[in-house]
Symmetry: C2
Amino acid sequence: MKNKLYMGCFITLEGIEGVGKSTQLAFISDYLKQKNIPVTITREPGGTPISEAIRQLLLAPALTQEKISAETELLLFFAARAQHIDTVIRPALRRGDWVICDRFTEASYAYQGGGRGIDVAFIRDLQQWIQKDLTVDCVLLLDAPVELALGRTRCRHQPDRIEAETQAFFNRARATYLARAKQKANRYHIIDASLSVPEVTSQIQHVLERLIRLVY
Amino acid sequence: MKNKLYMGCFITLEGIEGVGKSTQLAFISDYLKQKNIPVTITREPGGTPISEAIRQLLLAPALTQEKISAETELLLFFAARAQHIDTVIRPALRRGDWVICDRFTEASYAYQGGGRGIDVAFIRDLQQWIQKDLTVDCVLLLDAPVELALGRTRCRHQPDRIEAETQAFFNRARATYLARAKQKANRYHIIDASLSVPEVTSQIQHVLERLIRLVY
């Protein structure tokens, strides 16, 4: 399980909008710190000043009247990711931190692959060129029905460009996440995010306990 | 020679900083208009509002203290290019325009491949995914010794992030351009840009005359 080339452990939180990633990210951070495990918390797209500037381009509801093409969107996500890996993720793993990242490459498969219909082979090529030896140790997929999850986001804030997508788009993204979780069952953990916050937390704690036993 | 899938003709101007691309772009535009050929003039990175926003990220001398990684730079160039192709280049070629573009994919080979040392296979993968059936009919490579070309730019303006690179970087970029011109001699035309403006213009006019005879 342990990432051979690095000392730290790389955990990503995945899932569509409204499944409660932010809340659980805070729980994971607190839980690991209690165990005296050094933690780096970060997010995609973003995590560095340049990648956050790319995030602005990607998520601004109406930067211009121009529609961003699906391929441009995918390449911007990977541009931000390349910078994030070099500047934040690899250095943190090398110094032994556990890196907890709010979304990573699996989101490109779900959103740009499943959601927008981009050829999976293109995403896989980009992943190999950019990640090289870097692999995720544990993907926590927070899963809930689309209607339930989107219902939770509606009361929060003005939706960004991707949050404003159709329900059909999120259905395709969710289906892609679930299909990949089946294919990669050794790394993916499906968390039932339709339950209450304490129940979701408890499922995640269970996964973290097993992971700590494996690593230490 | 004619681009089979499109009516228009796709010409790109390539070369390092200071070889006189802007001056010659204006000449080409005027020359083709005199021949009643519909022309779209554009540039990379840029050409659309989103791609111009990406250009800002790429060229701002010091957006942040953070160094943009070579791979992030390459992906940003291709993100801008994908948008530019979809929004400007393909529609213009389809309606029969001749598209004259100040730099295109050959610049990625020269600058990110030669200059930064990125694996050429990565650039080729990106080119195939993004360009698909789109090929350049004629690459006009304005070539001059690096010292001469850079000397011309020094008196112009504050250099952008890439213009501020070392002479060794531009030597590698120029060498890559020349090597690719040899490999792709049917599309590349090397223009001696160390000569006076009228002499450079005359070489380009000669290439355009041949191109017009081939196309019409």
